[in-house]
């Protein structure tokens, strides 16, 4: 081969290098394809990834000692707990809220006579309480339990010396307690049918599921109630395929839920919370429809979960596209009025309360509780669930340069009406 030919071939090789190096798909294709890959995954795997990511994120947040956050095994069902984690991690941006009111209804409601539900199970916070693996929790395809959700590093549920320095809001007594009966499988089937979904692939090792369904453009799973940490029956809808990237997340989420007839009919406040997931470069945004209960004085009280965070229905967007939606399964609610404790009783109960979590800081922190909010929390007993009013107290203290928040939940129902 002549020297000239060699030079020709070398030049051709350089051009080929450049050609392959500069041949790339159109802008946006990479993220679209990644999303398509992700949206083919069943919801529990998506949830597993998100949870694992958040766990990793939390591990990197300087916080209370390991012992204080060691027992962080609230087995998460749904992204509601994630949502709460995200908010308290500070990994999100600003949240904006707007109000919307709708008829108070999960299906049809019936008002009952005062105290007619009898003695009620008591509501409580459940930090660090793992749900048993034996039943009632979602499983990965290999049968292993999903990743656990840790307590956000700025929340403290351990022992503390408490005092009260806040203003107690005017009470609206008595208040209503709402009750649902655990829905049978046929109701889950009807709900799926109403959304246009039919029976799907059975989920292995899934005692916590009411059903799994598929439609042309989404998958749907419905879970049962669970007593501790309590959760109501919930739906999980995962779109299949990739639609166009939406604009404003709140508008897109509302349109997405409305398209699937999943927009909550109960009062709610919308919160838009961007968040990040460790190890993932995509942009995540959570649009939450925080559930509210109507109070007798026409104000409302938010529903709070095992850590005292507000929750409800939500849609998670990845790169501007809906990734997963979950929320309470619409069920009929009965209501009955119950007397509330007085302000002084509520404060006494808060100050005398036992730690709800196993975190431990030495010396025991001194916390001045300065905020209280009437909220609703869920208690599940047998085949019934009860949304009950409660007082959520909170106050902050400094620990190793970080502002920590102590929360105390006190049932607002008179103790004589509660199971001991």
């Amino acid at each position: 081969m002549s020297e000239e030919e060699d030079i020709d071939l070398l030049a051709l090789q350089r051009q080929l290098d450049d050609a392959f190096e500069t041949t790339r798909p159109r802008r946006g294709f990479e993220d679209e394809l990644w999303l398509r890959i992700q949206t083919r995954r069943p919801f529990w795997q998506r949830l597993q990834d998100l949870l694992a990511g958040v766990v990793e994120t939390l591990r990197e947040v300087p916080a209370v000692p390991a012992a204080a956050v060691a027992t962080v095994l609230i087995l998460a069902i749904g992204l509601g707990i994630l949502a709460r984690s995200g908010v308290h991690l500070g990994v999100g941006g600003a949240s904006n809220t707007t109000s919307a009111t709708a008829p108070l209804s999960f299906g049809s409601n019936r008002a009952m006579a005062p105290n007619s539900f009898g003695r009620l199970p008591s509501v409580a916070l459940y930090p660090g309480v793992p749900a048993p693996h034996a039943a009632g929790t979602p499983f990965a395809e290999d049968g292993s339990a999903l990743a656990a959700s840790p307590i956000p590093s700025n929340l403290y549920f351990g022992p503390a010396t408490l005092s009260w320095i806040g203003q107690f809001p005017a009470l609206s007594a008595p208040a209503l307690v709402y009750r649902y009966q655990e829905p049978p499988t046929v109701l889950a089937d009807q709900f799926a049918t109403s959304l246009g979904a039919g029976p799907g692939k059975p989920i292995p090792l899934t005692p916590g599921y009411l059903g799994s369904y598929v439609a042309q453009d989404f998958g749907l799973s419905i879970t049962k109630s669970w007593p501790a940490p309590p959760r109501e029956p919930r739906f999980f809808l995962t779109p299949v395929g990739v639609g166009p990237s939406a604009g404003d997340p709140q508008t897109a989420a509302t349109a997405f839920l409305a398209t699937h007839s999943l927009l909550p009919t109960a009062p709610y406040t919308v919160a838009v919370v961007p968040f990040t997931v460790q190890g993932q470069s995509a942009n995540y945004v959570r649009v939450q429809y925080l559930r509210e209960f109507q109070l007798p004085d026409t104000s409302t009280a938010f529903l709070v979960g095992p850590l005292g965070d507000r929750y409800g229905t939500e849609v998670v967007f990845v790169e501007g596209r809906p990734y997963i939606a979950d929320g309470p399964l619409p069920v009929n609610l009965d209501s009955a009025s119950y007397p509330l404790i007085t302000a002084s009783q509520a404060i006494q109960h808060a100050l005398a309360s036992s730690p709800s979590g196993s975190q431990d800081i030495n010396p025991k922190p001194v916390v001045k509780l300065d905020r209280v909010e009437l909220v609703y929390a869920l208690a599940v007993s047998g085949a019934q669930g009860f949304y009950e009013p409660a007082y959520l107290f909170s106050g902050t203290f400094q620990y190793q340069g970080q502002t920590m928040e102590k929360r105390v939940l006190v049932p607002a129902i008179d103790p004589s009406q509660l199971n001991s």
């Binding site: 051009q15 790339r24 890959i37």
Partner: protein, 168 residues
């Protein structure tokens, strides 16, 4: 072995562009290249749990899937028709204008010459310039490293002749 594996997202981010380029060098439209690239990574995603780095590098593993997906594409879309076009050097359908505007190829003409090379020559060039070693090219093409080198150099000369003919 599993500990040595990159996460699937890392693999995807590192190789998506290269896989696309490899596929694009062999098919006539960006739409086909997108479809095949999507199929490659869907298949890879499903199989990744079983992938072990002991026997093959992640790059070679992905390109094997890409090679199979491209072959399937040709089977499904009329290999005979494509060969006829190749032999007759007839113009082929081009991308839609919007696709062409967005796709980033600076050396479109050169890759069109690559696309009409005999199959094994085309693959040798595409795999080699997608960043694979001759050893990896040999593994994928079921031949030795030396045979892969020889095949590549023959392909390079054939490409040069094709380019010269085109210029003439």
């Amino acid at each position: 072995v599993l500990a040595d594996r990159p996460t699937f997202e890392d693999l995807y981010r590192d190789y998506m562009g290269r896989i696309y380029a490899y596929v694009r060098a062999q098919v006539q439209t960006s739409a086909d290249a997108e479809d095949i690239t999507a199929q490659v990574f869907m298949n890879a995603y499903k199989a990744y749990a079983r992938f072990e780095t002991r026997n093959i590098t992640p790059a070679a593993w992905l390109f094997r899937i890409a090679r199979n997906a491209t072959t399937d594409h040709f089977r499904a879309h009329g290999r005979r028709e494509r060969l006829r076009r190749t032999i007759e050097r007839q113009p082929v359908a081009t991308d839609d204008p919007a696709g062409m505007a967005e796709e980033r190829i600076q050396y479109r003409a050169l890759l069109e010459h690559v696309a009409v090379l005999p199959e094994r020559q085309r693959e040798a060039i595409s795999l080699r310039h997608s960043g694979l070693s001759f050893e990896e090219v040999g593994v994928l093409m079921s031949c030795s490293e030396d045979a892969a080198k020889m095949l590549y150099h023959r392909a390079l000369k054939a490409l040069r002749e094709s380019v010269r003919e085109g210029e003439a």
